[in-house]
Symmetry: D3
Subunit: 244 residues, 6 copies
């Protein structure tokens, strides 16, 4: 099975990192390839960043289908372009936020998401409302470390996730924790152990892994998103995007 | 007061039409100027179209603030780029869907939206959920006339709006009707009269007018969107968009 | 345009104050006249007070329409008699709570209302539920200063609004503040500046102003409430109210 | 036990009828007395009517407590004045709509209310929202017989309740029916039998009876409404109501 | 009137205690008999316990109807087997949690439930969601005393209920308290007085009493649960339960 | 990977059928074994049936963990005993209804479930509420074929699923269909093709497959349900169940 990870920021090194990290999580027989977008922002922290990343995501998703890939994962917790991408292709397109939140809702009474910055908390809260899971949300908290520092200092990020996770469990009633940035990939187990050592043994979901598993499962079952929800766009004049 | 209408599709003729149509609705003393985006789709009917329109919208909104305009109206019922645009500027940015829906919720028990195509019904339903007004929605219906024909045959569109409006009132319990495309501008009164003649005297909101009034009101009150909800994006490298 | 402010408490001095205060907020060309009710309570702090104010409000709203006024604003955050008044007349009748809350929901992720007394908090919470905006409410807080002292000591009220506003932003996640009593008229700007000085620059809505703008906008657009939601009451015997 | 039925319309004959009808439903040892209001409307069909009935209701509820009555039932499905009356007294004040709806929610998956007129349907829908039971509502339907004819032609009303009840069960998924006007008192059993004969054996609640049972139960248990929700109003000047 | 209390734990002494305690709460003319289940757990603290108690509850409820009893109360705040039992019989079957919560919602803005153990808090929260009353819930708190100690040390339990009740009122905005275990029977009045002495005079509901009153009321009114919600199970082979 | 399917009805032939059917859906390397319960009902159509099946399910789940199995799937759309079973073990326990509904919510705007009998519709509706996905439900419909005939006449069942699926899409706005009984295993693809042939190409989820994929995914990720939501039950006396 071929799964394409679309990295919605510029910088081919991020694609290389993603290919390696997702590849380690894939099951035997799944081949992961990753592509970063060529035009767009260096990181996604605001609606502006997301808006400028999405055209590149659409290009990469379309290309992936043309190349015969079986499914696509968009490598960002904003699930940028998820809906538009699903209109363009028939293969499954999966977002780590949507995948992780539905998994969380199935495993625990209430979950908390630990996002990057204080200011993205309302963005995540609205996302949970949009996915229809507000009744399962305990809280959204932030580690307050900028996205571009996330990858540089994993120890500090893991420690901050444990601290905020403890508060989520003790003060907000969370029973499960979701790290809220795909740049935190590889930390879920460490955070889960850290929470257990501190007396809070709760599951910690790795959103990229949840997305990868969902993609694999959909391909196995021959299922994809509903084209009645995501109908193919009609042909029309489009200016300024060479690929449409 | 200077109000800029940003038309999120390509074609300078649409800007000219919008400038004229909005100008007729503005109150004395309000000067309306309109700009179409330079890159993007010829119409907005899907998430894909919206995604490709938003970068152009952001460019135009930013330019409007730099030119000293007092407020911006985005001329499309998808309110494309509303959230990202609010991050970029301090002047009020208003969407006709959001303006019309809140007005409808204040004037009637339940409202219906008559959109363009059957396939955009779920998109509108999710928008209502996102704006937090699902409890006030009677139904979303469609006239099933493509966007690009909307402007060409206003008689047919008005007649279809009356038909679907009657069904919305009689079958779905609507007490107020919102035409669901800004291309239907100028038809609200005619539809309201048509409904009254058919025994269903309910208010019909003109969304571009509602947006314009909201923009004027915000400027009068010295109010704008909360920068805590829409914080200014941090500086970062962005590739492929000459204006960022 | 003629707008009538109906003050739902006894005391012609309050009408004079309201006429002056609203008049300063009206746009050029809008003439504001105010009338206090002749029978009813000296202030509105409970359901009992509201119940005894409403018959007088209905009388004044009916009279306003007969006098050719274009729209009515009910000058109290309980919006007392709003629904019944809309049944009686065809001109727009607007309440400052409903106007301010819908405006808040359009400008910010979540808003807080700072009401007068601790004991009115549940009343306001139920009002937000009734208006269908519970999903947008961060909190209701109180300054704990009786209504009749509100007008006497504006400095103290403004300071208390800043204090509770800060708590609403920092502890409850509010992104916008609504002062919860029309007796606080004229303080919004000062409170907004006070919050900004304390590091919390969020919009503060002036509910009477929001109501006035909504009334002006509805008259401009030729819109009013739906008579399907607020049908004219049938003729019937009514005893003890000389005006019905 | 002494229970006072307050009839919120003018006409002492309605009090006599109510005293007899409720008296037949009371358990041994419960003495029912009824009082109609002296000022107000001849029937309650709109918000206007309700607003003009409430001051009289408050007077009668206050008088009932002073006379040593144990509990009060307000004899109208709008529960007019319920909240204000609870502020004024410490004895239980009960509304038939609130009592019947909570009972219905405990006995069935979803319930329907058959109200009097088409135009009161949205009023009842909003009442269900206010009582927090919207998730349990199948539909609100109307017999379309004016309130003042309800008492005159019980056969016609019962037949219409069966017809609309059948539609509520078959088309709307109702599992229980609530007649939506206290003027329909005495018909519940007949309607329940009529529905069973037509192949729809579902419970039909008699709202006045539900209210009476709730009042008796509260007195038995020494319970009343929370004074934190309904605090006693502070003393203040009130003009035009001799009894305050 | 004959009312059967089914005690869903093993130990005939609990039935004797329940018969006495409920008997003291019943009105004159109501005869209370109690039966404990013969197979099942010694206490109900988890879903596992509840699952193992329900078959015994069904046996006892069925037997009660065969013996001509008028109504059944299941003596546990989990309302174990309520839905299945209602399928098996036509007489009313009542659960103290459902009865107490609907009563609370009718008497107060928001209520809190004080359950036994921290770990049952999510169970109770989900129960409130299932009963459709989440909008009325202020909080669920725990005294953290195991069920089997509840009956042994009533003083300690009452004191803990007052402490947690105070926190529920002051920190969570509760206006009414429900003790969350039927083993706390007989403490409501004491807790209500304790809260009043500490400056928090709010109603405290005795759930077994609320259930008993509901059962008596239903029998008086000739009402029971809807058989459309709880249809009689079809005949089929069942192995391992001698009574089916 | 070892996955145990627990069939919550009596009859070892059902276990054999399930082992074969699930085995065909498992990925290479996954070994499926199935066990039917020894005590309980012959089919699950009511709450009574479910209540009598759950003790046997708990026994089988516990045994599965002791035998070193990696995860358990409960083979019934009622997910009987899911919560209690999760308390007893640490390995993942998965229900096909929960797995299929979360998958549906991630792939489509709204989904419909086609259950067996008219009378189970409210049971399914309440299940969707409990899983927190009511906002995504288009409708619940029934084929009206008893459970025990489901397995005997797959052609008739598939045809009925297509008919009701068409109505769900056309009349209720469903974008995805879930067959509502695990006895319908193996029909999803045929129903999906049938719907496409009739002009309604929407995804049809096979709930047992969705459950199996979720179980495999959880084992791969080393994740299980939160023990804070499903804590291990304390030791206590239990009578009448030899295995506790």
């Amino acid at each position: 099975m071929q799964i394409r990870v679309v990295v919605p920021i510029i910088g081919q090194q991020w694609a290389e990192e993603a290919e390696k990290a997702y590849g380690e999580l894939a099951r035997p027989g799944t081949v992961v390839s990753a592509m970063a977008i060529e035009k767009g922002p260096a990181s996604i922290e605001t609606h502006r960043d997301e808006a400028l990343a999405v055209p590149g995501v659409l290009f990469e998703v379309q290309k992936a289908e043309q190349q015969g890939v079986d499914a696509v994962v968009i490598d960002c917790m904003g699930d940028p372009g998820l809906e538009a991408a699903r209109e363009l292709v028939s293969i499954p397109v999966v977002g780590p936020a949507q995948a992780a939140m539905h998994l969380a809702a199935a495993l625990a009474h209430r979950f908390s998401i630990i996002t990057v910055l204080e200011q993205t908390i309302p963005v995540v809260e609205e996302q949970v409302v949009r996915y229809g899971l507000a009744g399962r949300l305990a809280s959204v908290r932030a580690v307050n470390i900028p996205v571009l520092e996330i990858k540089g200092d994993k120890e500090r990020v893991a420690a901050a996730l444990v601290e905020e996770g403890l508060r989520a469990v003790r003060e907000d009633g969370a029973h499960l924790i979701i790290p809220g940035c795909t740049g935190m990939i590889g930390l879920a187990r460490r955070v889960q152990e850290g929470l257990a050592e501190r007396g809070c043994p709760v599951p910690v979901i790795e959103p990229p892994w949840a997305a990868l598993k969902l993609a694999e499962s959909l391909v196995d079952m021959g299922l994809s998103h509903s084209k009645r929800t995501y109908p193919a766009p009609p042909d029309k004049e489009i200016v300024g995007y060479e690929f449409f």
